[in-house]
């Protein structure tokens, strides 16, 4: 387990059981024990006393994201050549520096969808519902509709295996889930290429994704771990939070129609040749940090890197 992974798990624990909640829980523990003794086995069978509690937690509802984390990146968008804190490989960095935003003027690129490993970063509405067998009421799948790019996602909960290597790769990938306590853990394969950060950094179609959906009342935390041997030297971990929305006033649509924005000879692909990205220094100069820090890598994700930077600057 990497240092970053350990840090992530600590942070995740904080999200599942925020410190205030822990303090409250401690004070209330005596009362809880007393109630449990009184309730006995009937309480364990759930409300009504005849309906046993199944595994997991109901995530159904309409959810909207809150932007208290990474708001700048998730809203207006990241600066060009800003890869700080991302555990990218040298190859991924080279890919990012070759990427020219003008590539989106090519009609075939214009309606590209955010990949499932990135789509929860953006502004969107998320509807979650369950699909159950009408006879047995066994949970078959958890479905999600994400209005950003109108994506419908299926998380299979019936124990099926992932498809063969020859099966198509999709924007939402192929997902299977299981409850770990009250946390829904999802494993996704068969992904396409997609954003690591939407300034040119992309993971490949060999990436896999593990996610945790954690509900605390009307609050939902989505935590993800992305792995891709081609572009990431360590797993990339991110979290986003959502709140339950009781009103349903959103549009929920995202139509896209590509157009020719620039008439070009056939087959042109806008990109920067190695060493010729004109924006290489822009972000680093703006925030007065060394370019090598701006260009990311696993080292830049750890607190120790700040000390290293100070030492470098002192020289």
């Amino acid at each position: 387990m990497t240092k970053l992974h350990k840090k992530f798990r600590r942070e995740l624990r904080g999200k599942i059981f925020p410190e205030e909640t822990l303090r409250c829980s401690y004070r209330a523990s005596s009362l809880a024990v007393f109630i449990l003794i009184l309730a006995g086995s009937a309480f364990a069978q759930g409300p009504g006393g005849y309906n046993p509690i199944g595994p997991g937690v109901d995530l159904a509802g309409n959810w909207g994201p809150v932007f208290h984390e990474d708001a700048h990146e998730r809203g207006p968008g990241p600066e060009l050549a800003n890869y700080v804190g991302l555990p990218i490989t040298d190859g991924a960095r080279m890919y990012g520096l070759a990427w020219d935003a003008s590539r989106f003027t090519i009609p075939e690129h214009q309606c590209e969808v955010h990949i499932v490993s990135y789509i929860y970063r953006g502004p969107y509405n998320l509807r979650i519902w369950e699909e159950r067998d009408p006879v047995s009421q066994k949970l078959i799948a958890i479905k999600q509709y994400i209005d950003n790019y109108q994506q419908t996602r299926t998380i299979w909960m019936d124990g099926r295996s992932h498809p063969s290597e020859a099966a198509p790769h999709t924007w939402m990938g192929f997902s299977t889930g299981k409850y770990e306590g009250n946390i829904l853990t999802v494993h996704t394969t068969h992904l396409k290429w997609g954003w690591i950060r939407r300034n040119g950094l992309r993971h490949t179609d060999q990436a896999t994704l593990t996610e945790h959906f954690i509900r605390h009342g009307d609050h939902l935390t989505h935590a993800s771990v992305l792995t891709d041997p081609a572009t990431l030297s360590e797993p990339l971990m991110k979290t986003e939070d959502l709140v339950l929305r009781l009103q349903n006033g959103q549009t929920w649509l995202y139509p896209c129609e590509p157009v020719v924005e620039i008439v070009r000879p056939r087959g042109i692909v806008p990109h920067y040749l190695p060493g010729e990205n004109p924006f290489l220094h822009e972000f680093a100069d703006l925030y007065k940090i060394p370019v090598e820090a701006a260009l990311g890598g696993a080292e830049t994700a750890y607190p120790e890197y700040q000390s290293k930077l100070k030492r470098t600057n002192a020289k």
Partner: protein, 317 residues
């Protein structure tokens, strides 16, 4: 001694890997419409089935051909009437003879043209350059047995046929992976079979010695892009069966086309600056894609890919 050991290892590793790949069964996966994909035979095989019979695109390696026929028989008991070859490589044509013998060609009193084997097997269609690669002039021993050769070839830009209620086109792609490449387009099922022009498993195989070129490769990728129309929210729609790897769609192909074009541009810029092949190889111009696309050996290896592009672009002395 170390050199000999390394050479033996370099030769044996790909063979061992291929043998491992070929030890399993041939698996069938429905693509869409009338078209299925067979995997596990050394290269991808497409099978179109319908009331009229069976059409097979490529036949895998010879060693797996009995399993290929068995897999086809699980999909349909109708006669195999046509084999279409995307190109001449043995991992795509090795099973030609076995699959051809398992099929048949209907003939009648008014049959004209060159149907020498009519009635004793399926017809094998390919571009004429495939026949040239597989056969040999009279008196010279051909590298491929006669039974595997195309029985019918086309010389012009495309060959059209109508089979199983579906228009099927073979579209020649000159000087791409080699000189005899055909795209196979199932127009009603909306599936394109690319041969080794496109693969999800490695860099493209550009075989300069067999008439391939980087510009032909890029032209061919752009031609496929123009055939493919994605479905809802830029996904699925036209499906693309690569020579090796998984069932793809336009966004998958687009990423690949971009990659090949970008690397071509980098090498062209290096050549313009007067860099030698060794300097270009040392410059690491494919580093951003190597972990994803570089094969361990063969033409799909990064070094071979760079070499093929360089030779294709460098001024001829």
């Amino acid at each position: 001694m170390k050199t000999v050991a390394a050479a033996v290892f370099a030769i044996c590793l790909p063979i061992a890997t291929l043998a491992q790949q070929l030890s399993g069964d041939v698996q069938a996966l429905k693509v869409q419409g009338n078209v299925y994909l067979l995997t596990g035979a050394g290269s991808n095989i497409a099978v179109q089935i319908g009331d009229a019979g069976v059409l097979v695109v490529d036949t895998g390696v010879a060693e797996m051909s009995d399993k290929v026929v068995a897999a086809i028989r699980k999909l349909s008991d109708k006669p195999i009437q046509y084999v279409l070859n995307t190109h001449a490589d043995s991992d795509h044509t090795g099973g030609n003879d076995t699959v051809r013998k398992a099929g048949l060609t209907y003939v009648g009193a008014n049959v004209t043209g060159n149907l020498r084997d009519a009635g004793i097997g399926a017809q094998i269609y390919a571009h004429d350059n495939v026949l040239k690669r597989m056969s040999a002039p009279t008196g010279v021993q051909a590298s491929v047995p006669f039974g595997s050769w195309p029985t019918e070839t086309y010389l012009s830009g495309r060959k059209q046929m109508f089979f199983n209620s579906e228009p099927v086109e073979m579209i020649h792609q000159p000087a791409a992976h080699a000189d005899g490449d055909s795209l196979i387009f199932f127009r009603r099922s909306d599936v394109v079979v690319t041969g080794d022009i496109f693969m999800t498993t490695s860099y493209p195989f550009i075989d300069i010695d067999k008439g391939g070129s980087i510009q032909g490769e890029i032209d061919a990728l752009n031609n496929i892009l123009e055939l493919a129309i994605p479905g809802y929210q830029d996904e699925a729609g036209t499906y693309i069966i690569p020579g090796h790897g998984w069932i793809s769609d336009r966004p998958d192909l687009l990423e690949y086309r971009d990659m090949v074009t970008i690397i071509r541009d980098r090498i062209q810029a290096a050549i313009t600056k007067g860099q030698t092949l060794e300097q270009v190889k040392a410059a690491g111009l494919t580093k951003d894609y190597d972990r994803r696309y570089s094969a361990k050996s063969g033409l799909g290896n990064a070094e071979k890919f760079v070499e093929a592009i360089y030779k294709s672009l460098a001024p001829k002395k």
